[in-house]
Point group: C2
Chain length 346, copies 2
């Protein structure tokens, strides 16, 4: 369990990548309960969060952790990840300063801070925690095929690619459902979702044989707390590298309904440009026919990321076309709101 | 790399499970190049391998490692695995005796012998190796989507369930192809295959994000050595727990053709009896439509495990029906031979 609570005051490290390449930092700013008191980005020191991301709580952007100490932070959170998930040595002075100031440090890297000798020794000296949210629990095991028995409605996002809004859609749906008085819970499966929610298992980091089992365990646990679960999906079923994770999520979660996410205008798999994105109808068939023998489900709604369009009218037209293709209600839950999707699900 | 070579003299531990529940032991007896000089099974001590498995090289069955030392072994190989892949403490005296006699010990358990303090210390004292074939290399990474560029024909087994003969079919095909003078190689992806071949990565034990990448690396490496690769499949695409591994193999290997394995008469997923095995035609559609957006392929032949039938005539009829359903040539490559499949593939 990640020790982040709503009373924490959090500094988010996003050096040289805020906001466009700092997906975790922006996700945390937008959705986490806790207070972000400063962002570290040496390329933007002196600017403010509101200059770049207008619709979240504002905070100053400072050069380094030493400059953020005046805000009396409890936590330093690493809000960016280089390709490969390594630790960038240029961040070391910030992490060191945070620990020495008594802050816990939260990271979602493949490189574990706990295994770094300097940080581990320093954290012990200062009595702070190093929290590697990407380290899975060591007692995971194979799925028992029991998620369909969960006493909750389970909704899962599936997508046409990575980075199509699977986490965002679920967080918007949780908020919209809660506004209607529904006891809705978010089930995080990736590092950003885990940092936002304060719990969860990073399914992509689990031993392949245990991936569906990790999902099953989260579903069964969360079903005891909530009536409706919104499960963060990962990757896409046609991804050359990550499809196995997507498949484990589909069969491990045994969802009652799927929400299909897509980024308007995207034509190839992100980072794998030789692999074309097939027509959306093919994805619907694939996800539904793959789910059917294990736990039948269907695509009940769509969420379209319309950032490619400047004006709302073009976005609205794209959403309508997407809904027609899916033969299900669709919207952009960030640009507009999540109500249409929620109506289709409940 | 597993240090087993054709000159090694190997003792296989299979206590209380030989032969029917000792899949690894029997696989090694049937297909490995090295010499099995004794089998340890305290429930059958005094009997012989030939009493139970008639078509492999015979060997005595003895009670414990101490009784096998007279055959001057080089290696003790753990040929069984309890559910969960743990180490059975009743085997400890045998492993100890092997190490003290200067034998390497090879195991495919989730429990790593190298991490056992007693065994590690003893192995250091005696200068022997503890070889945990299920420990993946620590430098794996994500797939680059490059297996389709491999300079070899790639054949993958896919199945209707676990334990339907995916490894066996590939080993029979490799042997049949080599008999025809074809430069064929076996690509092992599970612990038994790795023990037989002496190399390979246990794909089910890899970090989920890296599973397709592990397969890709093996394909690209093996394609430099051989003209045709026969890749051991795992699980089934409709498995409640293991489907993610199957999906990673399909997309990581990017095979030119698939061979579909099935166990005649099986109606439910092994160990998951609430999950029915769908009609074989559905599997063909699923595997082919899932592969298509990443690397198109098709089911070119079928391998039917006909052990459920006592007489060859009934087996032959079942094979014919299976071939008709698949709309592709099929046979039982163990009961009959692999030629029909090979003809369909080459």
């Amino acid at each position: 369990m990640v020790s982040l609570d709503p009373d924490d005051s959090v500094v988010v490290l996003a050096h040289e990548q805020f906001p466009d390449r700092a997906k975790t930092a922006v996700g945390v700013l937008r959705y986490a309960d806790y207070d972000v008191t400063a962002v570290l980005d040496r390329a933007r020191a002196g600017e403010r969060v509101a200059d770049h991301v207008p619709d979240v709580a504002d905070a100053p952007i400072v050069e380094r952790m030493a400059d953020a100490l005046e805000f009396d932070p409890d936590v330093l959170l690493i809000g960016i990840a280089p390709i490969g998930g390594g630790f960038d040595e240029s961040w070391r002075p910030d992490v060191r300063a945070a620990i020495e100031a008594g802050c816990d440090v939260v990271a979602g890297l493949h490189y574990f801070l706990e295994d770094d000798e300097e940080f581990a020794a320093l954290a012990a000296d200062h009595g702070v925690d190093l929290i590697d949210v990407r380290r899975p629990p060591d007692d995971l095991t194979v799925s028992g095929g029991r998620a369909r028995d969960a006493d909750a409605d389970v909704i899962l996002t599936v997508g046409t690619d990575c980075s199509t809004g699977k986490m965002t859609t679920m967080l918007e749906l949780v908020a919209a459902a809660q506004e209607r008085g529904i006891d809705a819970g978010f089930v995080p499966t990736g590092q950003t979702g885990i940092m936002i929610a304060g719990w969860g298992v990073p399914v992509d980091r689990v031993i392949a044989d245990f991936a569906a089992g990790a999902v099953e365990r989260m579903i069964l646990d969360a079903a005891e707390e909530h009536d409706v679960l919104f499960v963060e999906g990962q990757g896409t079923i046609v991804h050359p590298a990550y499809s196995g994770v997507t498949c484990s999520l589909l069969h491990g979660a045994m969802p009652d309904a799927l929400v299909m996410t897509h980024s308007a205008g995207r034509e190839a798999i992100h980072g794998y440009e030789d692999f074309a994105i097939p027509p959306v109808e093919e994805y619907v068939d694939l996800y539904e026919s793959l789910a059917a023998p294990v736990a039948p489900t269907e695509v009940a709604a769509g969420a379209l990321d319309t950032r490619a369009f400047d004006d709302d009218e073009a976005a609205r037209a794209a959403v309508e076309e997407y809904a027609a293709t899916l033969d299900a209600p669709a919207t952009d839950p960030v640009r507009f709101d999540a109500d249409e999707i929620l109506d289709a699900l409940l």
